[in-house]
């Protein structure tokens, strides 16, 4: 199914929960409300005509200083879906504010989401409600802050950790 048709089906199924859609050079994106995110992802996986059986990537974007988005929700959580059966792709985004940076976990849908979500928590400080083990993935336990946030100072030095740590 081509991307425009996927977006059309998605909007038809979820209505106003699909906040915004756009297409750029063959990549189709749907921005969905956080409350509907879990249902949208589950439907994308289970609907036979879509059958997004693979979560290619799960990441986040910090729009703190992004031109035109300074006043909007700070973070975008981005899901890249792929269907092996149909060979089509879709990008799903959900926007969250800094003081309420929580989205529902996708670990129940795609097990790979486990480490993706841990990485997003580690780097951006976005929490995933319902995640079974939301620890830092790349940085160590003593690390303070979330280094891929745009307001993380590049010169900040972390305390050194000792051999017993």
């Amino acid at each position: 199914m081509d991307g425009a048709a996927i977006l059309e089906r998605l909007s038809g199924r979820f209505g106003a929960a699909v906040v915004e859609t756009h297409a750029h050079r063959g990549d189709h994106t749907a921005v969905v409300a956080r409350d509907a995110l879990r249902a949208v992802l589950a439907w994308c996986r289970d609907e036979p005509a879509l059958a997004f059986d693979m979560l290619m990537d799960l990441t986040a974007v910090d729009d703190l200083k992004f031109p035109g988005r300074e006043d909007g929700p700070r973070f975008e959580v981005v899901y890249h879906l792929y269907s092996v059966a149909h060979n089509h792709r879709l990008r799903v985004k959900a926007r969250v504010d800094e003081d309420d940076a929580v989205v529902p976990t996708a670990t129940g849908l795609w097990p790979i989401a486990d480490w993706f979500e841990r990485e997003v928590w580690d780097m951006f400080g976005v929490r995933f409600a319902g995640h079974p083990d939301l620890r830092r993935l790349l940085m160590y336990e003593e690390f303070v802050g979330h280094p891929l946030r745009k307001d993380y100072p590049i010169e900040r030095r972390q305390p050194l950790i000792g051999p017993q740590a």
């Binding site: 940085m139 280094p147 900040r156 051999p163």
Partner: protein, 152 residues
Amino acid sequence: MGVGSFFTSKLDAAIGWARKYSIFQYPFVTACCGMEYMATACSHYDIDRFGAGLPRFSPRQADVLFVVGTISHKMAPVLKRVYDQMTEPKWVVAFGVCTCTGGFYTNYATVQGIDTIIPVDVYIPGCPPRPESVIDGLMKLQDKIAAQAQRY
């Protein structure tokens, strides 16, 4: 000048001479500098000429710790432990600019110079250093080993 002091200084020199030509290195190789380290160790540049041809892959059998490549904060405790496991006498060479200062990795993940963790005897800057620089550093280390007061 007593007999004892004359004897001691000559023994120091003899031991220093022996030690500087029997360097067993521990290569702590974490990054791209490792390729240049290998080039130096192989037959073209041949550090066996300096008695440093046999790397030991156990810190307990090594004299010189070659820290070759970027050290991240997560790797720092491992490096410290390897250093602590080495027996005296021991020396440390910082190989490449990342180990000297952090290099261009001014970021959240990289240790800004291994001398924030362990003492360093010789710094070899370069990204990566040419084998000639490495041999120069090795010879400076040999001079240091030969000249230093020995402890038995």
